[in-house]
Each structure stands twice: as C-alpha cells, then as structure tokens.
C-alpha cells in the first residue's frame, strides 16, 4: 500500500495509461497530466516528490490543439453525426490542386482517399512520373531534386510530412512539387 514515492509513474505513464474513449478513436494526450499541474496540487503538502506534475510536462510547450476528453460537452451521437457530415459534405473528398515546377498543367487529387503520407507521395510520384526521395524529420526529402510542399491555411508554404496526417489534410490548401535549388534549400535542414 505505502512506499511509492510519488503519485506519478512519471517514466512510463504513457505506456501504461488507459485512455478514455472508444477503441479506434484518436488517442487523447494531455488530460491526466494537465490536472497534475494545477497550482493547487503543487501547493499541497504532498511530500518531496509527492504530487508534482510530470516534469516533462511543465517545461515542454503544450502540444497543439490536443483534444480534451469530454470537451466541448457534446453527446457522442452528435459528434459522430458531425464527423459523418464533414466527410459527406465535402462532396466525399478534399480536392486540392497539385502543381509541379516545370509541368505544363496542374492536377487535382482527393486527399481523403489516402490514409497517410506514403500513399499520397506514391500517387504524386505516379502522376508526375518522378521520385521524391526519402523523408526524414531532420533533413526533409533526400535523394531527389524534388520536395513536396503545400500551402496551409495561413498561406505559408510547408514541407509535406512534418505534421500528423489528419492535421495535414485539414490544413492543406494546395500542393506544389518544388524542383531544383529551391527544393534543395527546403530539404536541407538549414
């Protein structure tokens, strides 16, 4: 019963964490840690290592827009309804223009039909008959003169592959396959 130094299994919390929600739904990341970092808890006489929140969590910047369990307070069947609507109302797809530097005309693809980056890039490669190269977080796309980029909601040109897929397809407005020196500039971790 006694003996545990702190109330956090700080090291392996994520691994052993049960999460609320239906199987197959997106994992919810922050709730449990959030509550530990409340001012009140920090002030409690919890002992030395007591109830302090996960150190990692305090110093790291909050992940962008992670969903909080049960917020906003909407019933599941409404949420499901909205999701279905979103999928259907987009005419069944998210169509974006794809341009390639040097190509005479643009193409359009439906982002919804791909389940992730590999399929998307494969499709673009096939469409324009070229190879994109290997993606790495550090160096972008190596081994090719091309870099796939996209324009996001803010109007900025971003390298394809940096953000989670779901975030990408909702923020991508158009795609552009950059070529040559411009491309190399993007891909080289400058």
């Amino acid at each position: 019963m006694e003996g545990s130094v702190g109330c956090d299994n700080d090291l392996n919390l994520r691994a052993t964490e049960l999460r609320l929600g239906l199987p197959g739904t997106e994992p919810v990341s922050i709730v449990r840690s959030n509550k530990r970092s409340l001012q009140q808890v920090a002030d409690d006489d919890c002992g030395v290592n007591g109830c302090k929140s996960d150190d990692q969590n305090e110093t790291a910047p909050p992940p962008p827009k992670a969903q909080i369990v049960g917020w906003p307070p909407i019933r599941s069947y409404r949420k499901n309804n909205i999701q279905t609507k979103k999928n259907e109302s987009e005419g069944g797809g998210i169509y974006v223009k794809v341009s390639m530097d040097g190509a005479p005309y643009l193409r359009k693809i439906d982002l919804k039909i791909y389940s992730g980056y590999p399929e998307l890039l494969q499709a673009i490669e096939n469409m324009f008959k070229f190879t994109i190269g290997e993606y790495s977080e550090r160096e972008g796309y190596k081994g090719s003169d091309y870099a796939p980029t996209y324009e996001d909601k803010d109007g900025d040109w971003m390298l394809v592959g940096d953000v989670p897929w779901e975030m990408f397809i909702t923020s991508c407005k158009r795609l552009r396959i950059m070529k040559g020196s411009e491309a190399r500039g993007l891909g080289c971790g400058v």
Binding site: N9, E17, V31, K35, L38, W71, P72, P73, I82, K85
Partner: protein
C-alpha cells in the same frame, strides 16, 4: 384536534383526494402529515421517481410503495454524456426489473435515463408485466433490437416505445415485424437513434397504418425521403414527427407528394430528424410551418439563408434546436419572427476546429434575448463572449430558468476586455431569480462563485469546468446555493477544505461529481467514514487510489446520498469509501 380530523375521513375518501395530487413533492409532503396519511398515501402511490438508482434499493421502494404502476429511474451521472464516466461504472436496471417482476405484476410504465439495459432486462419486462404500456429508454445502452423484438411481440397494449438518444445494437430492422397485427394501441414510437440502414419499411408502414392513436412518430435515417409521404398519409393525426433522411435528388413529383402529405397533417406541431437536408425540399414544410411549435434542426447542415427562410415561416415556434450555421443573422431573424420562443439550443457544427467556421457570436444570443420575451431556456455553444453581452442578456431576460453557455475554448476571457467573465455570469444569477440550471464556461475566478452563492438561491443544477482559483469557489457554492441538488465539476482547483467544511450539505443534494480536481484520497476516506448516508465513490481507471499517498488527488469522485448503503455492483476501478480501516471494493 388534527388526529380527529384525519380519522373523520374514511380511507377511501382520502385516497380519492390524494389521487388528485400528482406531483412527487406534494405526495411526499402528504406522507409527512401523520402516520395514517403516510399509510394511506403509500398504498395509493402509483408513480415513483428515483433520481439516482443507487440512492435506494428496489426492495425498499417495493416495501414502501406496494402498488406502483409507473416508475422512472435515472442511473449514470450527467457527465457520462461526455464520456467522463468509464464504461462499466454501473447503472444496471436488471436488478430493478427482477424485483419488480415479482412485486408489481401490474406495472405499466418504465422510464429510464442513462441506465444500462440488457436484452435480458427487456425480455423480462416483456414476460412479467401483462399490462405493460410505456417504455422510455432515454440515453440508455446495452441492448439490441432482439430485446426490442421481445417487447414488440409480447406487450399487447403497448402505447409508447421511445428509444430517444439510446445506443442500440441494431442487428436488423426486422424487429418491427414482431408487433402483432393485433397491436393497434401505439401512441408514440421513437426509433430515431437506430443506426442501421435497414428498417423493415413495410412492417413500419403497416404498424403506423393500424394505430389510429399514433401521435408521435420519430423515424431513423434508414427511412428515405420518398418514403415519408407514405407514412404521413397513413398517420395524418400525428402531432410530432421525426423525419428520416431528408435528402434526395430534387424531383418534382416527390416534392409535391411530400408537400401534399405534410399539408394533410393538420395537427402536426413538432418536427425533428432532418439528417442530411437538401434545402430544396424544405418548402414542402411551408404549409405546416405556421402551426409548428417545436423544430429540431440540430442535425441539419443547412446554411443560414435557408434556415432564415424556414424559420420566418414559423411564427408560433416555441422551441428551436439548430446548428451554429444559423449564424448571428439567422438568430436576428428568429428574434424578429418568433415572439413565442421559449427554448433555444445552438450546437456547434465544428466543435474541434481551431477557428470559427461560421459567423456566430454572442450577438446572436443577445438579439434573441432582446426579441423573444418568453425565452426561458438557453443552450448556446459559441467561441467568444463578453461581460457586457451577458449583462445585457440578463437584464433583457430575467425570466430565464435554464442558462447553459459553452464557450468552446476553455478559459476564454471576455474578448473585449480580456477580463474573466465573472461579472457577466454574476449578472445572470442576480437578475434571473428563477434560474434553476446553469452551466458556466470561459475564464472564471472565485468571484463568479461568490455571485452564484449569493444570488443563486433557486439554482438546482450547476455545471462547472476549468474555472475558479481555490477552495473558496466551491465553498461559496456549497454554502450559498440553498436549492442545489446536482453539482458537477471538472478540471477546477477545488480541494479538500471546501468539501469537508460543507460535508453536511452533501446530504441535502442528490449528487456531486468532481473530476480532475484537487480532492485528496485522504479527504475522500474521511468523508466516507464520517458520512454514512453518503456513498463516496472514487473512480480511477489506472491504479487503486491507495497505491499512492493519501494526499494525492483522486482522478474522479462521485458522491451521492443514499439510504441503501454502498453498492456491490462496482467494477474494479470504483471504490466506495467506507468504515475506518478498509476500503470497500
């Protein structure tokens, strides 16, 4: 003197008098007058409402009220609606059905909310109650269409089958065919929650056609637009109708058939459903719009101009549920067209989007508060609010009884001044003296709770999230809100002090929910020990609370008063705090 008075009326006369007293509160008061009234009353009580199925045991209810015909039970706490209560927590109806099967053979009505209902329970109902008439399963789960088939087949006098918002394992639409041809007694049928795309349409049509008293019919998405006309023509006496799909390619003959069918329903006052609406089909409703008092368009992704057109045809509207596609402009139109409006609910079309996708702000709500003098009940999701707007709303509408505001981003301040919204909500509780239900959101300090404790004297239910600074906030509410019955709190820095200082208050309430707050395990244990009439349940799915120091906060806490003692159907992740040393599990 009074004793003589009581005995001067024979029991039968008193019974007759009591039969005119329908409200539970009044009945309870009657039973407190004297022992003989208590005795007479309990034998003639026909309806029982149990707001928390764990507050009392089935046997206790049966012992006190031996001749009940109608029972209403509620199970899980409200926050279960938002997935905050883990699956398996409880709320099983089977034990109740099992006991009542023996004790109440003449039971006619069962109404359940947020309970776990199994096919076994449904089959037991079908078997046990020969005169069964009404089954309402509101936000329930755990059963399938097989259980419904049993009800349909066995309940010869079934009047109401209402599955509103329940989660049903929809195995096949064929269960409808289990209603025997001799069943003509249906008054209300609500199957809108059934999710499968199959429904035995011919069985449905025949059923509707042979029930002349059918007043309320809510279909599910499986029923396509072209079929609606057929159904309506078989039931022109409908008062409440829920469409299925309301989308199809626009075809003139389908349209005119539909319009004709609607216009033949002279009693129709309430509409709902409208999944996937094609705006071009909305004018089919125009002939009945002038009579409409209730309209639920909260699944309809139609845009503001189409909504405005529809709403402007409904001057008698009292209740409107709609998505935020209505926008401020639509609400302004509503405010000018619908002077009888009493209830407004605006749901978010894109609740998880980072930015607003529609132009719906606090202005819409202000407009409605100004234009609709009978407005009493509000549920409003939006992305920005100001104290000024809230004060205006409060001053415009002091007759508000329910005010639930959800500003989508937690801790959003007044967008004009960047201050907390304490003053705004304070104005709501101060001006709306009959406010019974309040949900808070936005950036809020302990001050808002001071206002609530000071002015919220009629407040019965309060929902709080991401608000407050300290225990003082909770203390204001618990010590000030005299009528408080249900309090639900999440993600607030409320801890032990306020809870323990107001322990006695908890016995006057139905329940208290606190999750992601700062109440320590030690305090929970203390509360459990000191207050035997409370069930103090600690819920933690990751590890037992006693594997950590006592000073650590518990994940979730559910406290409710009970005369039944701790329950024994708890899953492994729920602990009831009990006597001195051990923790009941």
């Amino acid at each position: 003197m009074q004793k003589k008075m009581a005995y001067s009326f024979p029991d039968e006369v008193l019974e007759q008098v009591f039969s005119f007293i329908q409200s539970d509160k009044d009945r309870n008061a009657v039973s407190l007058v004297c022992k003989s009234w208590d005795e007479i009353e309990r034998w003639c009580r026909r309806k029982v409402f149990i707001g928390n199925c764990y507050a009392v045991s089935p046997r206790m209810v049966i012992r006190r009220f031996p001749e009940v015909r109608s029972i209403k039970l509620k199970g899980k706490p409200h926050f279960a609606d938002f997935n905050l209560v883990p699956d398996g927590w409880g709320g099983y109806v089977l034990p109740w059905i099992a006991e009542m099967a023996g004790a109440y053979p003449w039971l006619e009505e069962i109404r359940l909310k947020r309970m776990v209902v199994t096919d076994e329970s449904l089959e037991l109902i079908a078997k046990s109650f020969k005169n069964f008439k009404v089954l309402v399963l509101f936000s329930c789960e755990g059963f399938s269409t097989d259980g419904l088939a049993a009800i349909a087949a066995s309940c010869k006098n079934l009047r109401e089958l209402d599955l509103r918002e329940s989660e049903v394992d929809d195995l096949s639409g064929h269960w409808l065919a289990h209603f025997p041809e001799t069943c003509t007694s249906l008054v209300s049928l609500n199957i809108s929650c059934l999710r499968s795309d199959e429904v035995s349409f011919s069985a449905l049509e025949r059923l509707v056609g042979r029930c002349p008293n059918l007043r309320s019919l809510r279909l599910n998405r499986a029923v396509t637009l072209d079929k609606i006309a057929n159904i309506l023509r078989r039931a022109p006496q409908l008062v409440d109708f829920g469409t299925g799909y309301y989308a199809a390619e626009l075809q003139p003959d389908v349209f005119s058939n539909l319009a004709g069918a609607f216009s033949s329903c002279k009693e129709l006052k309430s509409l709902s459903g409208f999944w996937d609406v094609v705006p071009a089909y909305l004018p089919a409703l125009y002939s009945i719009c002038p009579r409409l008092t209730s309209l639920n368009l909260s699944y309809a992704t139609i845009q503001s101009p189409d909504l405005i057109k529809l709403v402007s045809h409904c001057p008698r509207l009292q209740r409107l549920l709609v998505l935020d596609y209505v926008e401020d402009s639509g609400l302004e139109e509503l405010a000018s067209s619908c002077k009888d409006l009493q209830e407004l609910r605006v749901f978010p079309s894109d609740p998880f989007g980072a930015e607003p996708n529609v132009s719906l702000t606090e202005q819409g709500l202000v407009a409605v508060s100004l234009g609709c003098p009978k407005l009493r009940s509000v549920l409003y999701f939006c992305r920005r609010m100001s104290n000024a707007a809230l004060v205006t709303i409060a001053q415009n509408r002091p007759n508000l009884t329910r005010f639930r505001l959800c500003i989508i981003e937690p801790k959003t301040p007044d967008y004009l001044t960047l201050e907390p919204l304490d003053v705004g909500f304070g104005a709501i509780v101060e001006h709306c003296k009959d406010l019974r239900r309040l949900s808070l959101s936005g950036l809020l300090t302990d001050h808002v709770f001071e206002y609530i404790g000071t002015y919220g004297k009629k407040l019965e239910m309060l929902s709080v999230a991401f608000a407050g600074d300290s225990d003082l906030g909770l203390h204001h509410v618990l010590s000030g809100c005299e009528s408080l019955r249900k309090l639900e709190i999440r993600d607030c820095p409320f801890g032990d002090k306020a809870l323990l200082a107001n322990a006695a208050k908890l016995e006057t309430m139905r329940s208290l929910w606190m999750s992601s707050c700062a109440v320590s395990f030690g305090a929970c244990k203390l509360l459990g020990q000191k207050m035997p009439k409370l069930n103090v349940e600690v819920i933690d799915e990751t590890e037992p609370p006693d594997s950590r120091p006592e000073s650590c906060p518990v994940d979730k806490l559910y406290i409710y008063r009970s005369v039944a003692g701790p329950r024994f159907d708890m899953p492994p992740f729920v602990w009831t705090m009990g006597e001195a040393v051990r923790i009941l599990h």
